[in-house]
Amino acid sequence: MTAAPSDTLRERVPVRAWWHLPLWPDPWWPTVAIGTVVLGGLAAFLAPLGGVDVSRLNGLGLISVLPVMSLLGITAVAVAFSVGLCLPRAYPAVLGGTLAGIVICLNAVTVFTEPEPRFPTSYQIAGFVEYISRTGHSAPGLDAYFSWPGFFGTVAFLQRVTGNHDLIPVLRWWPVTIDMACLVPLYLIMRNLRASWRAKWLAAFLFEVGNWVGQDYFSPQSFNYLLYLVFLAILLTWFGLRPLAAPAAPRAEPETGYGIVSWWRSSFSMLVPGEIEPRPSSPAQRAMLLAILLGIFVTSTTSHQLTPFNMIAACLGLVAVRRCTITGLPVLLAVIVTGWVSFAAAGFWSGHLSALFGDLGNLSGNLNSSVTGRITGTAQHRHVLDVRTAYAVIFLLLAAGGLVRRRRRVTDDRVLITLMCMPFLAFATQSYGGEIALRVYLFVLPAAAVLAAYLFFPATRDEGGGRPWRYFLPVAACAVTLVIAFFVARYGNEAFEQTPPGELAAFNYLYAHDQAGVRLLWLSPDPAVDDTPEMPWEYRDIEKIDFIPELAPRHPGSLADLVATLRAAGPGSYLISTTTQEDYLSQEASYPVGWGGEFRARMAATRGVRTVFANPDAVIYTLDWPPGTPVRRPIPGAAGPASPPAPWTAAGLAVLGLLLLVLTAREFIRVCLGAPRLLIRPLTLASLPLLVAFIGVVIMRFVVIS
């Protein structure tokens, strides 16, 4: 048979009917088979969830009450996804649908098992939104969160223009929505990588399954994690550096063994870049994209305290490894975030400098408090911590393995290595208490997920032949293990992170009686450190209820101190005890089993103590006050923005404005006009004295205000 010219061939292709569109590909049976298994698995997972009783959780959390049927269902879905990865060609609709199903199962399971949205802090965030929605201003004096009000302000704005709806459904569906949304920038990021479709789909799966950290509740940081990925996607897609002298096609060399000599040689020989070249774009498009990039960064700066630093670190790393063309961007970003912290968030740091920078450089201290600080509590609950640690370690090991396999294919994945390493800087610099390890893991995750996927599928392009089925067993085993372990790692604290309806009712009772202000005592295992109650707190009227942590007596009978404190607090003071807080005390702080029940019984029997509200989930006590007891009003924090001294503010703002103008102009000229020296050099020179002056202003403000 002779080869026909390509145009002749094209003419002969008949017009395809709709059932032959890519959504319904040839051969049709893999789609139908995998689709059936996935739908069956989803049904098996979701159907029995209605009968789950979340009040009977033990120290392992949600998995202790999940029906076996549900676990079998999700296992079937994970296996089906692995099968989809090993087919000779990609079926995007099937893989995408399966992945979406998995994300729903993992992140929306509590929507079906619990009557109210989970996680105490999400209620607190809703309280900040409610405050802005009601008063029309933020209040940095009331809470440090208000120094970064972008997220609260936006939600309050949307809430008001859509007709003042309740936020409870938003709280409930937020995690699964934001986790789905994160897949979009991840897809854009992965489009720039030289990798097979199998690696990319597996990476998306690992990214979702690895995200057990639980930072995706309704909060500024979950929104900012999405912004972080968007930032990376724009940077890598349009501003990644054109690699110098890249070979046109990846080398088809055989894998060269593990010997030191070959490793050495491969390190210094010409590696093939792990990224494809930047997409072509016109100067106007690049200007527009840079504006969006800066907008994303400013959005993040105004709404979260940690994420902008991660963005700067990632950008700096990419510039350093020559994979970012906007070389002046890190300086511009640093000036933006410093300006915000110095001028707009003054209420946060004035008076707290030692708390902020005290841990700077205290690497081992931060590591220890992150890793070991939380390891107390019941033996059963400690398994959850073991699973989490193992999860993180396994992920990093898989990523390292993937890196080695890619290296043997002489591929240079410096972008992924950079993105994986830069978040670790936070250990050395940020003062964020015991949570920093979780956050570092979260920001390592996108790059680590891709590298871990390379361990199974290291190919640099879509290969036609090969034997993908030999990877089926390892991939399926890994997928199933990680999915099941996810439920332990993510929902291991569910006994005290859930919100029973009775607790919400208790708080609604308080909100109905807080016109004159309320002091609310709650039971903490260590009031000096542990000041976040496990209850739906602060979700309304945040300026009216003062939450005061009090030491929970280890022996539930010794209530004298507690009652004395309540008496000293005066009329309008209450003490609350909730089932979740009691579970927290026993699981995390080793209080005796049955502590809560005995505490409630003893408290009710104490003379002078009056129970004003009680249901199985929560009890509120107060005291019988003799008539004429003077009422001490709770002191609400200062409302409205904190006002720093005037003379420095005006001068400082002028310097900041000029500096931003010069630096922004410099970067726009760089991306639009290809860095003409005649323009760039004067701007660089002009920016230097301004930069020095700005640093001076910032230091001066720190000294004067604090």
Binding site: I132, G136, H137, S138, P149, G150, F151, G153, T154, A156, F157, L158, R160, V161, T162, G163, H165, V184, P185, Y187, L188, R191, L227, V230, A233, I234, T237, R279, S281, S282, Q285, M288, L289, I292, G295, I296, V298, T299, T302, S303, A344, L673, G674, P676, L678, L679
Partner: protein, 133 residues
């Protein structure tokens, strides 16, 4: 002026704009209609995104939609943030601000403005080339 041919995409855009404007009207009138929330969200989400997508002609479709959505988030958050920082909190004012920004982004894409820009573009390019030398 020559009339633009109406492709299905353009009909869809017109429908979205009309629905969004109805939503904005309902919100400004303080209506309690169940249509208010979805239509206002459509106006705040699809409006700026479509306007920015129009400015990003030439990018491939997924990238274009993605960048436009990113811009949409930025516009909404910064409008809310500026209202807070300036002490001028007004949800209705913010809604109008987003609509005005969208309209401005839309106006620069109208055929007269674009033809003017394309007329002046060569001069600009020549100027830059001169400078590089």
């Amino acid at each position: 002026m020559r009339c633009m041919p109406m492709t299905p995409q353009r009909w869809l855009a017109c429908a979205v704009i009309a629905a969004g404007l109805i939503g904005v009207g309902l919100a400004l009138a303080g209506s309690s209609s169940p249509l208010r929330a979805p239509l206002v969200m459509l106006a705040l989400a699809a409006g700026p995104a479509m306007a920015v997508a129009g400015l990003l002609r030439g990018l491939d479709t997924p990238a274009r939609i993605f960048a436009a959505c990113a811009a949409m988030i930025v516009i909404n958050v910064l409008v809310a943030e500026i209202m807070l920082a300036a002490g001028a909190w007004s949800p209705d004012g913010g809604l109008v601000a987003v609509v005005v920004i969208t309209a401005l982004l839309g106006v620069v894409q109208l055929p007269p403005v674009r033809s003017m820009a394309s007329r002046h573009a060569p001069k600009w390019r020549a100027a830059v080339r001169l400078e590089r030398r």
